[in-house]
Structures are given as structure tokens and as C-alpha cells.
Amino acid sequence: MMTKVELETFVEGTTHYFATAANQPASVGSPYIVQEGKPTIQEFTGLISIAGKRRGIVYFTASRPMLTVMLMRMGETELTQENMCDLVGEVANTISGNARRDFGKDFMISVPTVVAGEPEKIVTPDNIRSFVIPINWRSHSAQLVVCLE
């Protein structure tokens, strides 16, 4: 069973990135469960796979407008798709780092992969519900999706 601490670890990883890199903290929206079908996937998704004590994926998915504003806030002038991919990849990397720190040595965490569009590329484990945690930043809303056995 997923524990509160595990969820908090992923959420903290995400919010930590916003607080430090995006120069403006994000707030956590009301979390919910997706039991059937795929959770939300926006235009850019940074994903890590987890194995060991728990198995599955965790991803951060955000829209182009949100990433555009984030890049601008970070002083980036080139608002390219590549930079947006890098951005969600960095968020995923921060989540991964947080998870490594908190979960200790029992977990295997993959290097982040980035998917731009193409939601079919994101494969969630079968018959596993996903926890969706909205990450609200300014007027935008991204999602942190935790889908672990």
C-alpha cells in the first residue's frame, strides 16, 4: 500500500524544484486517485521509473504555457521545445534525487526520461491506480502522477 510518507517525498521533490529553480514556490492542489484509464498527460512529461521495494513510474507533466513562463522566470530567453524538455527532465531529476535520499538503498531509480506529447509512450503498470497531485504555480497547473505498486 502506498504510504503518506512516500507520496510526500515525491511532492516535496517537485515543490522544492519550484521553490529553488523557478524562483517562486508552487502550491499543492487537492490530490486524487485515477483508478481506470490514464491519468492526465500534458504536453511535456518528465518521467522516472522505480524498481525494488516499489515498482512503477512517477512523472511530472506540464503544459507548454506553464513551462514558457517558468523558463522566462528563470531568465531563459530561448523558449524552445528542447529547453522545455530539459525543464521537465530537471523536475523529474529533482524528484528522483529526493526519492533516493528518502527511500534509501532499497530502491532503484532510473535516470529521467522526457516525453514531449506522445502520451502513448508513457506506460503505467497494469491494474495499478495512480495518485494525481496537482501542482499549482501562478495561474497554471501541472500534475505529479505517482503510479507505484
Partner: protein
């Protein structure tokens, strides 16, 4: 290895030693022969030199005769003759005596050729000739003194020893003046004999010596030829021996190479075919060059060159496992290690590894590592590592274990739900599912402000409370406990000063738990209904229940869907419908709560089978809350009831009555202590719902209305049956949602009566 323990090199060492010995023999023979060669050269020189001696003897004798005739002094010439004769005699004797000669350095050499018959014969001839010569020489050599008459004038000074030079003065001397003494004349006569004899003999002697010299030379040539033959023979033999050695070893090498190739091929075949991953680890924990092909498939890599064990594992196991593995392998290198004992603590006996999947994520496998210590010459040289992919075995084992655990959990669950009417349970599960989905929907509504978060809490509370109430009514303790824990989390959130999405994380976790648990209950129910169905079918057919079917059910192989259960009730013959289930649910609830409160209660239900479908859920939730409230708060304990002359068991009635176009009327009435208005006011003040001043101003009706306020409860402590004051709030909300009204009448110490009006519905009217 000892110095003589040559192993596989024995043959080549012996062969080379033999070859060297052979060469040494050849060289020794060669050396011996070569030595003789120089002796022969010395012999030839010796003989050539000695061949001149007869001439010298002859010349000396001639010269002596000449001087004598000339009347010259003969002493020196005589002495020369003596020496020449002695030298030749000595040489001839040596030659005749086994061929011994003296070389220029004074060393005595032996000429083997002088012992050959022809030489011996010649020497004999020469000796005979020389003996004749010596006989003639003897009187001359023995001569001493002067051969002349003593009155003769002194002879002229002696000419040089050279006979030729001496001839002139002899010829020049006046012959008429020489007067020999008698001894002189005898000497002259002897000299004449000697010169006559020597005239032929010295040539013959010289010829003999020259011939001997030729023989020695011929012998030397023969030896040279022999030496050449020996050398050629030796070289040929050496070459043949070398060739033989070469062929022998070439054949052996070929054989060994063939054997080695065969062994290598066999090893390669084994390594290519074997299913296990095999490799050697050296002291630096580096993988050996030979390894089985299966290793590529097991580790999903081709390159193992210069790979160390930790690098092999680093990317596929968690760090903790890697550290444990390295510690264990280090332990195996200890010299004083009990291998069998250490094997029992092998942490890599069943290790979970994760390979990067190119499509994303990991592929998880289970590997079994086995370590064997390889000893060479008494010391540990390598570790032989055997790796097996035991994923299937582990998965099967885990599935079996999970299956057993699940079966145990299901059995526990089964025992808990066995007493529950399947219809009631089905109804509960459907309703609970709706409630929980509703909770999820509430959670899903976007929220950024604290007010939005706070607004969610009450809505979620009502849904969870309803689930909890019904679970309690059905005696589903496990569900009730989970819902209760959910309520506690909600209560915790209510008390917080500020709220954010993070605070709701525990809720989704608990919601997930409830969803999962209900799914398990649903699965169990499905099997239970199926079993019931099977039994009923068998009964109808007049046969016995098929043990096989029961077994199948217990094993979970026949998982009829819950929808099937929903159509099954007609076959069960034990219930008449969902509302019949509600009646039983309420009876069970009343009995269970009464038991937990040490109370007795008689529940009477009427008209519940007439509840229209549109109100079924609401009526169920309302009656559950009111019946529980009545037992907890209304009905007194038997002792207390006896004091006021009431029957020990409290009377509780639930009536549902259609009122035509006016809708429906639901009455829940008990004969308990009634509402205690003062207590209600006190609690409301305590809980901050009203101020003491407001309490003082409330009339009885307003006081009774307080019990419908959220958070109101007169229970002293929170239990799963009462305590949070959510139940009456839920009743109020449910009634309000349906457009109905709630009426409440109570008389202290006598009764409490909840009267609920529900509007007519389209479907209800039609019914």
C-alpha cells in the same frame, strides 16, 4: 615441481640430452683423431729429417777418409761421424721400438703407423742394413788418437766440418808427405770398407726412411679421411637425430595441439551451451576471459572485458545490495573460511536485479549467484561464479506465497462477511463504491484557496460516515475501522488553522486503502454468492452439493462477477429484495450496538419493502443513523429501565409509510430516555456551537435542532458507533437533498420520535 619432475617436458629434455651426449662423443672422437693428425705431421717431419742422417754419416766417413788421406786432423770429423752415427742409430732404434719419436719440443710421440707390418718389415730391413753399417763403423768410431806417424809435421789447420769444403784442402795437400801409422792405415782401410758399403747403404737407408715418411703421411691422410668420415657421419647422424627429435616433437606437439584444441572446443561447447552464467573472479574481483555465453543473456551485455564484479552489478542492483554482495565476496577470499558455512549466508542467493528497458522503466529479474573457491597449488586462486536466472522460479514462489497469504486474508474476510446477507452486502458495496467515488470526485475538484480545501472536508465526511455507518450495521468491522480512521484524518484536518493540498495526501492514501479493501470484499462476495448459487442449484436438482464446486470456490478459480450475484437472489430463497436486506441490516445493527452498549432492544420494522428505489439509499443511510443513535443515546440500560418500570429490552420501531401524493413518511421511534435538552445545551456550549448566553435563550424546539448541527454529539468519547456528531448532520443533509423535512418529538424519560417526510417521486407515484 622437483628438478627431475619434468612433466610434459620429459621427452624433450631426454632427447636434447641424448643429442648433446652424441655430439660430445663425436667431438671427442674428432679431437682424438685431430691429435693423431698433429703426431703424424711431427712424425713425417721427423722421418724426413732422419732420412738425411745416413747421408750425413756417409759424408762424414768420406770426409774422414779424405782428411786421413790428406794427413789432416781427423778428431773433429771423427766426432761428427760419431754423432751422426749415434743420432741415426738412436732414431732407427726408436722407430723400430714401437715407432717412438721425439718431436721438436722434446716430447716423445708414438707413430702407430710404425707398428704396421710393412713398416716393421722395412724397419727390419733398415736395421739389418744399419747393423752392417754399424759393423763397418764400429772400428772407426772406436778409433782415438792420431792415425799419423808421430814424426810427421803437425797437420795443417783443420778445415771446416763441411766435407765439400774440406775436399779442396785434402786434394791440395801433398799426398807424398802423409805417413800413416799402422793404426792409421787400419783406420784408412776401415774407412775404405765403410765408404764402399756406405756408398750404397746410405742411399738405401735414406730411401727406407723416406718410404717410412711416406707411410706416415699416407697413414696421416688415411686418418684425415677417417676424421672427415667421422665428421660427416657425425653431422649426418646429428642431423638425423635432430630430424628425428623434430619429427617426434612435431608429432607430439601436433598431438598435444589437437588434444588441446579438442579440449578447448569442448570447453567452448560447454560454455556456449550451458544455461548457467559461468565466470571466474580473480583477487582483484575482475572477471576472467573465459565465460559462458549465457552470461550475455543473463546480464544483457556483450562486453565483459576488464569488468569488475562491482561494475557488473552496480547498475542493476540497489546500492545496499551491492555493498552486501561485495562484503560477501570479500569474505570468500579469506583463507580460513568454512566454505559450506559461508554459502549458507549467501546474500546473492536470490537477488533482484533491474535492467533498463529501452522502452522505458526497468525489467526486473531474479538472479541466483553461487560461489565456489578455486584452489591452485594449495592456495585460493579464483572464485568460480555460477549465475542462474531464477525469475520464473521466484515469481512462481512469490505468486504461491501471495496466493496463500491472499487465501488466508480472504478466509478471514470470508468469516467476517459470512454472516452478512449477500444482498445487503451487495447493496452496501455498490453504495460504498458510489460514496468513495464521490469522495474522489470531491477531492478532484480543483482547489487553490484554503476555503476550497475546507469546503471539501464536510462533503467527504458525510460520504465516509455513511460508509462507516452501513459497514457497522452489517458488522463489517474491517471496513468500519478503515472508514473510522478516514474520519479521524478528516477530523484532524478540520482542526487545522490552515489547509493545503499536502494535508490531503493522507486522505488519498486512506481512500486507496478503502477502495482496495472493498474490492477484496467484493471478490469474496462474488465467490460466496457463486457458492450459494451452486448449492441452490444442486438442491433444486435433488443432488448433493458438488465438493468439486466448493473446492473451486475456495481456490478462487470460479470467479463469478458480482453482477451475477445481483441476479441470483431469486434462487437463494432467503430474501425478498434489497429492502428485506435493510430490515435485517437494521436488526443486526441494533443488536450489535445494543450488545456493545450492554443494552437490550427489540426492533420492529414496517413498510421498508415499500421504499421506492429513488429513496432506497437515502432511507438506508437515514435509518442506519437513527437506529444507531436510538440505541446509543435513547435506549437505557436494563437496570435503569427497571427503575422506571420499563421492560428490560427497549422498543425501537422503524416504519415507512406511503402517503399518496403527499409523499412518504419515515418514523423512527424508541421508548428510551428521550432527548435531554439541558445536556444538549451543555454539549453545544462545550463544543463551541453556541455561547452560554445563546443557550439560555433557546426554546425546546431550537434546543432539539442543535443535534442536527455538524460536530454535535453527546457521546463522552469517540467510538466507531458514536462520538463525532456527524450522524444527525448526515440525516439532515440527506433529507434536505431529497427535498424532505425532519420532525422531532421527544418526551423526557419516555420516548424520542423522528418523523421524516419525503416528497413523492415520479417512480414512487408510479409504483
Amino acid at each position: 615441481m622437483g628438478i627431475l619432475d619434468l612433466g610434459r617436458y620429459k621427452g624433450i629434455v631426454f632427447a636434447i640430452t641424448g643429442f648433446l651426449v652424441f655430439m660430445a662423443i663425436i667431438m671427442a672422437v674428432n679431437h682424438g683423431k685431430a691429435g693423431q693428425f698433429s703426431d703424424n705431421v711431427a712424425g713425417v717431419r721427423f722421418l724426413e729429417n732422419r732420412a738425411q742422417q745416413p747421408h750425413a754419416v756417409y759424408d762424414a766417413s768420406v770426409q774422414l777418409a779424405q782428411r786421413l788421406q790428406n794427413g789432416e786432423k781427423i778428431d773433429e770429423t771423427l766426432e761428427s761421424l760419431r754423432k751422426a752415427a749415434a743420432a741415426f742409430d738412436n732414431s732407427l732404434n726408436s722407430l723400430a721400438n714401437g715407432g717412438m719419436i721425439t718431436d721438436s719440443t722434446g716430447d716423445i710421440l708414438v707413430l702407430p703407423s710404425m707398428t704396421e707390418p710393412a713398416a716393421v718389415e722395412q724397419l727390419k730391413g733398415a736395421s739389418k742394413l744399419w747393423d752392417g753399417y754399424k759393423a763397418k763403423l764400429d772400428p772407426i768410431l772406436r778409433f782415438s788418437g792420431s792415425p799419423y806417424v808421430t814424426t810427421q809435421p803437425a797437420p795443417a789447420p783443420a778445415p771446416a766440418a763441411n766435407g765439400k769444403n774440406a775436399a779442396a784442402p785434402v786434394a791440395a795437400a801433398p799426398v807424398s808427405t802423409v805417413q800413416l801409422s799402422p793404426r792409421g792405415r787400419r783406420l784408412q782401410g776401415a774407412l775404405n770398407d765403410l765408404t764402399q758399403y756406405g756408398n750404397t747403404a746410405h742411399g738405401q737407408l735414406s730411401t727406407v726412411l723416406a718410404s717410412l715418411s711416406n707411410q706416415v703421411e699416407a697413414h696421416s691422410r688415411k686418418q684425415t679421411d677417417t676424421l672427415r668420415y667421422i665428421q660427416i657421419g657425425g653431422m649426418v647422424a646429428a642431423l638425423l637425430l635432430l630430424g628425428a627429435i623434430f619429427l617426434f616433437f612435431a608429432r607430439n606437439l601436433r598431438k598435444e595441439e589437437a588434444s588441446s584444441n579438442r579440449q578447448r572446443k569442448e570447453t567452448q561447447d560447454i560454455l556456449r551451451t550451458v544455461n548457467e552464467g559461468l565466470f571466474l573472479l580473480d583477487k582483484d574481483l575482475k572477471l576472467g576471459s573465459e565465460r559462458s555465453m549465457a552470461l550475455n543473456a543473463i546480464f544483457r551485455r556483450e562486453d565483459f572485458l576488464d569488468l569488475t564484479f562491482d561494475k557488473l552489478l552496480k547498475d542493476i542492483v540497489p546500492e545496499k545490495t551491492l555493498r552486501t554482495a561485495m562484503d560477501y565476496v570479500a569474505l570468500l577470499w579469506g583463507e580460513r573460511v568454512n566454505e559450506k558455512l559461508v554459502k549458507t549466508i549467501n546474500p546473492l542467493n536470490e537477488v533482484e536485479v533491474h535492467f533498463d528497458n529501452p522502452a522505458g522503466g526497468f525489467d526486473t529479474h531474479f538472479l541466483e549467484f553461487d560461489f565456489n573457491r578455486v584452489k591452485s597449488e594449495g592456495s585460493l586462486s579464483h572464485l568460480l561464479v555460477t549465475v542462474n536466472d531464477v525469475t520464473k522460479r521466484v515469481m512462481l514462489s512469490r505468486e504461491l506465497q501471495e496466493s496463500q497469504e491472499k487465501a488466508q486474508a480472504q478466509l478471514d474476510l470470508l468469516l467476517r462477511i459470512l454472516h452478512v446477507e449477500p444482498d445487503s452486502l451487495t447493496s452496501f458495496l455498490t453504495d460504498a463504491d458510489v460514496s468513495l467515488k464521490m469522495v474522489n470526485s470531491i477531492l478532484k475538484e480543483p482547489a487553490r484557496e484554503e476555503s476550497a480545501f475546507r469546503a471539501k472536508i464536510d462533503g467527504i465526511y458525510r460520504q465516509v460516515h455513511a460508509v462507516k455507518g452501513e459497514a457497522a450495521a452489517l458488522g463489517l468491522k474491517t471496513v468500519e475501522q478503515r472508514a473510522h480512521a478516514f474520519e479521524e484524518s478528516l477530523n484532524d484536518l478540520k482542526g487545522r488553522q490552515s489547509l493545503s493540498g499536502s494535508d490531503f495526501l493522507p486522505l488519498v492514501v486512506k481512500l486507496d486503502d478503502l477502495f482496495n479493501h472493498l474490492a477484496q470484499v467484493r471478490e469474496m462476495l462474488s465467490r460466496l454468492v457463486d457458492l450459494h448459487h451452486a448449492i441452490a442449484t444442486k438442491r433444486t436438482a435433488g443432488g448433493e452439493v458438488g465438493a468439486e464446486k466448493v473446492d473451486q470456490w475456495l481456490a478462487g478459480q470460479d470467479q463469478t462477477q458480482i453482477t451475477k450475484a445481483l441476479v441470483a437472489p431469486a434462487d437463494l430463497g432467503e430474501t425478498t429484495g434489497a429492502v428485506g436486506g435493510l430490515e435485517r441490516t437494521l436488526e443486526d445493527l441494533a443488536a450489535r450496538v445494543a450488545s456493545s452498549q450492554s443494552k437490550q432492544v427489540n426492533l420492529r420494522c414496517a413498510g421498508l419493502d415499500g421504499v421506492p428505489e429513488a429513496y432506497r439509499r437515502a432511507v438506508k443511510d437515514i435509518t442506519i443513523q437513527l437506529v444507531r443513535n436510538a440505541v446509543v443515546h435513547g435506549i437505557e440500560e436494563p437496570g435503569e429501565r427497571a427503575k422506571v418500570n420499563k421492560a428490560a429490552a427497549g422498543a425501537l420501531a422503524v416504519e415507512f409509510t406511503p402517503r399518496g401524493s403527499d409523499g412518504f413518511e419515515l418514523i423512527v421511534q424508541d421508548d428510551g430516555r428521550g432527548l435531554q435538552l439541558e445536556r444538549i445545551k451543555e454539549v453545544a456550549v462545550e463544543r463551541g456551537l453556541i455561547t452560554p448566553a445563546q443557550a439560555a435563550m433557546l426554546d425546546p424546539r431550537q434546543t432539539m435542532a442543535l443535534i442536527f448541527r455538524p460536530g454535535f454529539s453527546t457521546a463522552d468519547r469517540v467510538t466507531t458507533d458514536a462520538g463525532r456528531g456527524a450522524g444527525m448532520d448526515l440525516v439532515r443533509i440527506l433529507v434536505a437533498e431529497l427535498g424532505g423535512r425532519v420532525g422531532l418529538a421527544s418526551a423526557g424519560g419516555k420516548f424520542s420520535k423522528f418523523k421524516i417526510w419525503l416528497p413523492a417521486t415520479q417512480s414512487a407515484v408510479a409504483a
